[in-house]
Amino acid sequence: MNIDPQLTRILVALVAILLFVAANAIVLVYVERKVAGHVQRRPGPYEVGFHGILQPVADAVKLMGKQLVTPGDGDRVIFWIAPLLAFAPVALCLLPITFGPRTYAFDIDLGLVLILAFAGLNVLALCLAGWGSNNKWSLLGAARSVAQNVAYEIPLLVSVLSVALATGSLNLNTITLTQGTWPWQWNWLINPVAFGIYIICAVAETNRAPFDLPEGESELTAGFHTEYSGMGFGLFFMAEYANMLVVASVATVLFLGGWNGPGAPGWWWFLVKMYAVVFFIIMLRWTFPRVRFDQLLNLSWKWLIPLALANLLVVAFIVKL
């Protein structure tokens, strides 16, 4: 029997990536709670294990032990597809990411397009969750998530496009290689406007505070996942962290030089930068109040999109010169 080596590579990579994402989700839950604790002048989880290090395990066991409740008159199929759909595309998004000079699942020329295509699937999951729940709060959350994702996908795309235009490639490996060893050779200083827009849009795309409107705890009780219990909620929860991981990885590759770094370049530099971005996103959540929905849309349509387009034009001119 003949097995395509490329297919084998992808399958192995997918398993590895799923393990990586799951491990990270567990670690990031702990990190988030610890960071939140220290921002709020309290120790955070402290009881389970040394400095609460086993807290995520306790949380996971609790979530798995919970009864799965489907709301009455809810759409059973849609309701339970949604959490799976939220989590599945993340693994595909991490496929073309170049973690190190030789550490990547597969090297395709359309890597960036692949990521952007599957990143958009997340909103479908939220939309289905809101619809299938047969709950008015969930429905409002779903409506918000669609409007928010449509509004923020555009500036995100345009800012990413300006990087692709400047480097002349959609291949993440090539983009990494065009950036040099030192921080001032990376795209975040070469193209700072795109970097700023990307970070704002990334926070909005992952539905994290201050842009956590689909969830909007104090307004919509829990938004789209109001009705989910047990691992249904747990999958959404993991998907949130996995998405955070994806946007941080893309930011690292596009703007922070990927695995490049002073001294010995390698995957460790990639991880350092990625976790720095994740840490920044976590800090944002515990620092700012939530914006209002119309303010969020105004920010995107009135400021970010024109700015991103202008930036793209400028980049195009500079490339042409």
């Binding site: 918000r144 620092t287 209002r292 119309d294």
Partner: protein, 386 residues
């Protein structure tokens, strides 16, 4: 034989009433009784068009505990315990209102030291109430961190009040003719130390939160409550002061020894949520001023009038006594018929009036703004329902 198709009635009395009338493509939504930002069990019926609120109607009574009726079947001493439970955040003001009404009716004299003790404890309690409001309001607006900073400071007040009253939330400290116990030795020093600490913390609150541009966007020009509307609904406290009227029971109908202290009534010219926000933060500062003056000027003497009657029997007649609570004017009306229990007790709770204007304010605003307005009214639901 024709049978009527089975009509399933959904909802309860309020929602069926609310749904009547011509509606086009709108959504009826119950906000509460279990909702994170209604602070307890307030229920608000909303008619929504998208996220815009067309109509809003508060439904009350989920924590109705018959405090007024209890007042009529209990003696005044027994009823004293109820007062701390009406508004658990400013319990000492309710204590004071009831005690003051009975004292006024029976003509019981209160020693000067007791009046000073009442002022200090009541103002400390007011600060703790405002701090909790501040944290909870920002929680409503989606900022998770400030409430823990507020509780950090509030903890000092609770410790101080625990030294004096023995409890941390539902105090029963004032009694007819004074207070139940004298101040412990280090309470006055502790109050001064707290005032000093709080003055250092307030600028930090301003830098970290008040000047934040996202917060400004959420509270500025949201929920205009003009003075005329406040007067119509009988709104008091920071709501009416936020609309520019310096109405404060401590100055308008001076009671106790408040006329001896030098303090201002903070007002704001902007009648929006931010105006009310600023008024409350400024009130913390003014309360600190009162505490400092009271601590330095407190006289020695009795903390309880030794001639105060041990058994209270209200004579035939009626009386009304009002104090300024953290949320507005707290009034207690008593009517006696010479028996061991009052004939009628009526409690005027400020949040009841403050909330009643909500349905007029809420027409045409966004759902998140409704949360912002409800928070800026500083609601304590048990006080509304009584």
């Amino acid at each position: 034989m024709m049978t009527e198709p089975l009509q399933l009635e959904t909802g309860d009395f309020y929602s069926r009433h609310f749904e009547k009338g011509p509606r086009e493509d709108t959504l009826i939504l119950n906000m509460g009784p279990q909702h994170p930002s209604t602070h307890g069990v307030l229920r608000i019926l909303l008619e929504l068009d998208g996220e815009y609120i067309l109509r809003a109607e508060p439904v009350l009574g989920y924590v109705h505990r018959m405090h007024e009726k209890m007042g009529e079947v209990k003696t005044c001493h027994q009823y004293l315990m109820n007062m701390g439970r009406v508004d658990y955040l400013h319990a000492l003001a309710w204590n004071w209102a009831h005690v003051g009404a009975v004292e006024k009716m029976l003509g019981i004299e209160v020693p000067e030291r007791a009046e000073y003790i009442r002022v200090i404890t009541c103002e400390l309690n007011r600060i703790s109430s405002h701090l909790l409001w501040w944290g909870a309001y920002l929680l409503d607006l989606g900022a998770f961190t400030p409430i823990l900073y507020a509780f950090d400071d509030r903890e000092f007040i609770l410790d101080l009040l625990q030294m004096v009253t023995g409890s941390r939330l539902t105090y029963t400290y004032n009694t007819f003719g004074g207070v139940v116990a004298d101040l412990p030795g280090d309470f006055l020093d502790g109050s001064l130390a707290f005032a000093k600490r709080m003055r250092e913390r307030l600028p930090m609150y301003k830098d970290l939160v008040t000047d934040n541009f996202i917060l400004r966007g959420r509270v500025e020009d949201i929920g205009h409550i003009p003075l005329e509307m406040c007067v119509r609904y009988g709104a008091t406290g920071p709501v009416v002061r936020g609309a520019g009227k310096p109405y404060d029971t401590r100055r308008a109908e001076p009671y106790s020894v408040y006329d001896r202290f030098d303090f201002e009534i903070p007002t704001s010219d902007r009648d929006d949520a931010f105006g009310r926000y600023q008024v409350r933060l400024a009130e913390i500062e003014q309360s600190l001023r009162i505490i400092e003056q009271a601590v330095t000027g407190i006289p020695a003497g009795d903390f309880l009038n030794p001639k105060a009657p041990k058994k209270i029997k209200l004579p035939v007649g009626e009386t009304y006594y009002a104090v300024e609570g953290a949320r507005g004017k707290i009034g207690v009306y008593l009517q006696g018929d010479g028996g061991p229990t009052p004939y009628r007790v009526r409690l005027r709770s400020p949040t009841y009036s403050n909330l009643s204007l909500f349905s007029e304010v809420a027409g045409g605003i966004l759902l998140p703004d409704a949360v912002s307005i409800l928070g800026s009214l500083d609601l304590v639901i048990p006080e509304i329902d009584r």
